[in-house]
């Protein structure tokens, strides 16, 4: 007898690209930590399902819509920001879909994949000196916007409450609904902190007992793109409240690399490095528990990182190398 698989749900109605932002699947991670008891469940939001390929679509859409509503972004203006990563792709994706042009400043050592994606989406790139990192990129975009304020809308994701609101109104309720209100622990990396702060605040409103773990690298330079070390940064995001997390978990870049390889091998999930760092931390939390429902964020997939050397390194570090 032929195997019968579940038929896919029928597609409903035509959608725009913007309708595809959010409502991402919640995946059950069942094979990455076989030693966990069945009472400890680990889930992860597949944020690469957003049209721009990352969790940043949510914040970009909300910051752009907020800018329009407040009259700061008007037809004919350009969206301008300093970003080397997914936020830039999200601005360029949403910007193209809404008819706004986008200017992004970034250090010249941003990966070639990113620059190609951004140019394919029509973004103008201002490349700055690599040694001076994001400092110079931020200064470059700020001086550009100051010179011509009527020409540019500067969302400033680190200080824009609409970044937090995006997750308060979308990611938080989605996780609550997808776990039937059973979530006990939320684990998410801190970059701008928008995902963590917005989702965390909403989840705490549903259930004040939900434990919140922020994830950060183990030092100011690291290989986990998009996240930052709050203890040493000279610019803590304005939207971040250091008293809000129950704990901060530091993840070594090498552990995130090992986990990225391991997730591909045992779960069939090719995820980005910050996503892998989140899973390292989520499993650390999971191993402390005898029961619980842990949810973390898979910020993006591996497609923008496949040229990195670590994929070719031996996987014999396995679980030990992942620090779990």
């Amino acid at each position: 007898m032929a195997v019968v698989l579940k038929e896919p749900s029928p597609l409903t109605r035509p959608q725009t690209l913007l309708d595809l932002i959010g409502n991402t699947p919640l995946l059950s991670l069942q094979r990455i930590a076989p030693d966990l008891p069945p009472e400890v469940e680990v889930y992860a939001k597949a944020e690469w399902a957003n049209p721009g390929g990352s969790v940043k679509d949510r914040a970009a859409l909300w910051m752009i819509r907020d800018g329009e509503q407040r009259g700061l972004l008007r037809p004919g203006m350009r969206i301008a920001d300093a970003t080397s990563g997914n936020t830039g792709i999200a601005y360029a994706t949403v910007g193209a879909a809404l008819g706004y042009q986008v200017t992004l400043a970034m250090p010249e050592n941003a990966t070639p994949e990113r620059k190609r994606i951004l140019r394919a989406l029509g973004a103008e790139l201002l490349l700055t000196d690599a040694q001076q990192g994001m400092d110079l990129a931020i200064q470059t975009i700020r001086s550009l916007v100051e010179r011509e304020p009527d020409r540019f809308f500067y969302p400033d994701q680190y200080n824009n409450p609409a970044n937090v609101a995006a997750h308060y109104h979308t990611t938080g309720p989605e996780i609550w609904s997808q776990t039937d209100g059973r979530i006990t622990h939320f684990v998410a990396a801190l970059g701008t902190s928008g995902t963590f702060m917005g989702t965390g605040h909403r989840l705490r409103e549903y259930n004040p007992a939900i434990h919140l773990s922020g994830v950060q690298p183990d030092g100011p330079i690291h290989g986990i793109e998009g996240i930052k070390h709050m203890a040493t940064t000279t610019m803590v995001p304005g939207i971040y409240d250091p008293h809000f997390p129950d704990e901060l978990i530091e993840v070594e870049t090498e552990a995130a690399f090992a986990m990225a390889r391991q997730l591909g091998l045992v779960e069939g999930l090719l995820v980005g490095i910050s996503a892998a760092a989140n899973v390292v931390a989520a499993l650390q939390v999971a191993h402390r528990l005898t029961e619980g429902v842990i949810v973390t964020i898979l910020c993006d997939d591996a497609s923008k990182y496949l040229s990195e050397r670590f994929w070719d390194e031996a996987c014999d570090d396995g679980m030990a190398g992942a620090g779990i």
């Binding site: 050592n109 040694q131 994001m134 100011p220 330079i221 290989g223 940064t233 610019m235 090498e254």
Partner: protein, 94 residues
Amino acid sequence: MATRISIPTALRQYAGNNSSVSIEAPTVGAALKTLTAQYPDLGKHLFADDKLRSFVNVYVNDDDIRYLDGETTPLTERDEISIIPAIAGGNAKD
């Protein structure tokens, strides 16, 4: 002769807030070892298990030492070493 090593913004806090340090050494590896001996707090950010961490890129003039002779790359007069975080966002202000 001394070789100038330029320190990225994010790591200057571990190097006496210097933007560059001059060190006499025959190879890149020796220069970095002397640097981290002088500033021990810098060590764990550059090395793990005695190997340069994979997200730390070291250039001699305009060339990544991975495409030269790695840490055994010899230094000659007027060479400059740059330490550059591999990811563009990897500094203190991203």
